[in-house]
């Protein structure tokens, strides 16, 4: 699915707010045409990163290239970048005003689609922003974010506050439109269990640095639960990165992280332990809750001075 849409190269990007370092020498790539999940706990720099990519903010140092060019004051590139942040980057007026504005400002904006989506979410386009609930505002953001159809579309926690049926309607609408109009999509979130199967790639930020950046399937295949008698589970996990541990009476469940090894299945059978899947949400929680994870591809140790 890659190829159409803007790719992003971030090199050695640092952003400081006064004494606080929001991003610390971040390097990563976002593949053109892929759906990338940008994951991280609150305050780990997701919004800052997206704001720099969208040229809303200048970096302290380092560089960002979008479709091969610096997006800062670059009309061609900026026209192809859409960033919708939580709460919505749209006008503080009637929803129709935002539709009018986007129609004039964004060449690929599909007004029919926007209106259909608003209808799906039961939003009256004549409603004023101030009269909408948080969930409804998120639904407007999501609708506009999809319909703007920019070559690089970044949706930052956009579906927070939406109820479950609305969120699923959003996922379905996004996927359907992506299939018809392939483009680069970045979804940032810390709630990932509902959407992780839509990701082709995953970037995990922790404390302003890149903890992991890889294919979602590759990441998924590196997490395994090992369940069995405590001694057996411990024996199986020997020499592996244990990122989670749960005791269930005499039974121990360990979450291990690392490439599966040949013979794992036979080894597990011999020891009498069961191997199970770890979903991305669990892996994310384990990896980002840990003070440090050996083996995770973290470029540097980061203790951000606060």
């Amino acid at each position: 699915m890659t190829g159409t849409g803007f790719g992003v190269q971030v090199h050695d990007l640092t952003v400081r707010y006064g004494a606080e370092t929001a991003l610390d020498q971040v390097s990563l790539e976002i593949a053109p045409g892929a759906i990338t999940g940008l994951l991280g706990r609150n305050g780990t720099g997701k919004t800052t990163l997206l704001s720099v990519i969208a040229a809303f903010r200048r970096p302290t140092s380092g560089s960002v290239l979008v479709d091969g060019e610096d997006p800062w004051e670059n009309p061609r590139v900026m026209a192809g970048i859409g960033l919708v942040r939580e709460g919505g980057d749209w006008l503080d007026d009637r929803v129709t005003s935002s539709l009018d504005y986007l129609e004039g400002a964004r060449p690929h904006f599909d007004r029919d689609l926007a209106e259909r989506l608003l209808d799906t979410f039961q939003i009256d386009p004549c409603a004023k922003r101030s009269s909408l609930s948080r969930g409804q505002r998120s639904a407007v953001s999501a609708s506009l974010g999809i319909a703007v159809r920019t070559e690089l579309t970044m949706l930052d926690e956009v579906y927070l506050g939406m109820d479950a049926p609305s969120r699923y309607a959003f996922y379905d609408a996004l996927l359907a439109d992506y299939l018809e109009h392939p483009r680069t999509i970045v979804l940032s979130s810390h709630l990932i269990d509902e959407i992780d199967k839509m990701f082709e790639d995953v970037v995990i930020l922790r404390d302003g640095t890149v903890l992991l950046a890889e294919g979602a399937d590759e990441l998924r295949s590196r997490g395994t639960t090992v369940t069995g008698p405590a001694a057996a589970a411990t024996a199986f996990a020997l020499g592996r990165d244990v990122v989670g541990r749960q005791e269930l009476g005499p039974t121990l469940r360990l979450t291990v992280f690392g490439d599966p090894r040949p013979g794992d299945v036979a080894h597990a059978r011999e020891l009498g332990v069961e191997l199970g899947p770890v979903d991305l949400q669990d892996l994310f929680v384990h990896l980002t809750a840990q003070p440090a994870v050996a083996g995770a591809r973290s470029d540097r140790k980061t203790e951000v001075p606060r």
Binding site: I35, Y171, L175, K197, M198, D217, R220, S221, R269
Partner: protein
């Protein structure tokens, strides 16, 4: 098909397995068209690249082939090839674990054998399903009497 992709394997391996199973079971016939990546993506709310990865694995194996601009189809001979591969793996992947589980549970292996004989007697002589492929692959795994 009611797949819920939550096993240990990456989703694309599960999709590939499911298509193989559907071919073996006859739910997908040779020269049938399989669902498109778009259909997979929207039906299961997964990334289309995930489905595409499964297809490319199956194309490499010769199970599926692509008709340009039309879609993916089950290759002629795919069922026989999958069955042959399954027979090769049957003893190691299915029977050996069953035997060790029986031992673990204290089930007499004679009882297991008797059960298999009973099943064999109840079935009409094994008509190879579908295109009646002769059992050309009696090999290493060694046939029991």
């Amino acid at each position: 098909m009611n797949a819920i992709f939550d096993g240990r394997d990456p989703i694309y391996l599960q999709i590939a397995d499911q298509i193989r199973d559907d071919i073996l079971d006859g739910a997908l016939k040779e020269e049938d068209q399989v669902m498109s990546t778009t259909q997979y993506a929207t039906t299961y709310r997964i990334n289309p690249a995930t489905a595409a990865k499964a297809f490319s694995e199956l194309v490499d194996e010769g199970v599926l082939y692509k008709r340009r601009g039309v879609g993916m189809f089950v290759a002629t001979g795919a069922r026989a090839a999958l069955a042959a591969r399954g027979r090769e793996r049957f003893f190691a992947d299915v029977l050996d674990p069953a035997v060790s589980e029986a031992r673990r549970l204290g089930i007499d292996l004679e009882d297991v054998i008797a059960r298999i004989r009973l099943d064999a007697a109840a079935q009409p002589p094994a008509a190879a399903p579908d295109s009646a492929t002769p059992h050309s692959t009696h090999d290493s795994t060694g046939g029991q009497p």
